[in-house]
Structure formats: structure tokens, C-alpha cells
Symmetry: C2
Subunit: 159 residues, 2 copies
Amino acid sequence: MFADHAMRPNERTTDRPLRADAALTFIGTIRTPWTEREDCPRQGRLDGPECRLQIEAPWDAALDGLEAGQTLEVLYWLHRSRRDLTLQSPSHVEGTRGTFALRSPARPNPIGTSLVRLERREGPVLVVRGLDCLDGTPLLDIKPERCAHSPENSGMDSI
Amino acid sequence: MFADHAMRPNERTTDRPLRADAALTFIGTIRTPWTEREDCPRQGRLDGPECRLQIEAPWDAALDGLEAGQTLEVLYWLHRSRRDLTLQSPSHVEGTRGTFALRSPARPNPIGTSLVRLERREGPVLVVRGLDCLDGTPLLDIKPERCAHSPENSGMDSI
């Protein structure tokens, strides 16, 4: 599980077991061109390659109302990340920082968030640009971008 | 668990049991002025009231490097949300839409995301503005805002 992160100088871990406080359910799978971590771009770009969000039943029924061109927030589970690091020494940043001061995939709850543009929908598949994650990454959630919504029409906390 | 959402016209649910595919661990608790859903603002504002992110050990050791004035992305668990809705009819939006076309808290993985401004750190507590969630909401993650980071210094996918 921790294959993607060997320890670096000054890094610290907790040896306390992770409590299981809530359960996630995978709603589908992300297909990208990148099958190895070293191939992934460091950050997604809206002019990057097309990627596919494959939504599984019954959640394909929850896609109604999404429109091509929309910016979406995508949440996914960084399933190959270690979860025990408190201090990290990224290779490209000077020094050592707390996990919460970095966007590193290694974190107690390894949830990635990206903003993507919806190119089109093909049935239960959303074709998007803007991702940077590995092929096969489990999908957790899709939401309209928060900035696109005024308090009057966001649907946020509305129900 | 579903007390906060009675069914509205044209809404649809799935009766398929949620698979438990991965476990979340709560890293702390969010303290806000709002103890009832109807008191919460519809969307957080950076000039809203101060709220407190109380980080629990061992994760307080992962806060090093955060700086006052920074914009942070906060992820939290909307613990009172129902998780079975596929179509929703929000009270303030015309018609019915798929769950993924709304930022409603009712979703298969009820993870809220907000951008907040860090006012100051008080030991294991981050004082922030910009939240809209209930007092007592479980905290999942804190990351630097993605926009604040160029590909060269983000730490994203760097390890």
C-alpha cells in the first residue's frame, strides 16, 4: 500500500492505528492515460488530455442536469497513498513541512480534489479534462464548481 | 441519520445498500456558531464569522508550515446527510436534478469542501473564516488552495 512513498530525511510518521470513523463507497472509476505515478503530470490542466469518469449503477441515475462546458469539482480516493506521515520532505520543495501544508497525496484521508471541464457525457461516462491522477483511481464524488454558484442558486446546504 | 431531509416531489433514491469500500478517519472537529441546519449560511464567506478547526493528536503534528492569511481547502464529513438520493428537488431551484449536478449535502459520499482563510493558529486549533457547516462537523483534511500553487511548488503528486 505504501509502495509509492519511501521515507525521506526528517519525515515523521504516526504509529497510532487509523480509527475507522466512516465508510466511503466508490461510485465509479477514473480512466486516465497514466498508469505509473512518474507519468502523472504534477497538476491537471484544463487543456490536458481527455479522461473518463465511469459512473457505476445506481449512481449513473444521478448525472441528470450536468452540461458540457461546465466546470466540475471531482473527488477521488488516492488508493496507493500512505496515510501515516505527519511531516514530509517533498523532493522539489526546500525543507520539511506538515502534511496539511502540502497537497501531497500522502495524508490521513487521501482524498484528491480537482477542477475539470466537462467535454461531454456518453451515457454513464463523463469525458473531462483537467485530471492528473492514475488510471484506475476510485471515484468518490462530482459537484458543480463552487465559484459558479451564487448563494441564490447553488443548491449548497439547501435541503 | 436522515432527519435533515424529508423527501420532496420527484425525488428518487436507490435502495441498494452502500458498499463500504474505504475507511475515513476523523482528524478533528469543526466548531462553528451554527447548531441547527436552518441557521447555517447557504455558502461560506471569507468575511463570515470565525470558526475553529480543532485538530486531534497525532495530527496536530502535521500543521507545521501553515501561515496566517493563507487560503486553505477544508474537507469535512456531512454526518447528518442522507446518502441514498439520486434525484433531488431543492427548495430554491426550479425542477429536479441529479445529485451530481447539485452541491447538496445529500450525496453517496457526503464530503463537504470549502475554501477558508487562515486567521491564526492557536496550538492545535486553526481559526478560519469561510465555513458554513454545523457545529460539531467531523474534519477530514486541510490542504493549501490549489490555485495558490504553480506546478513548480505545489507539492501535488510530488512524492
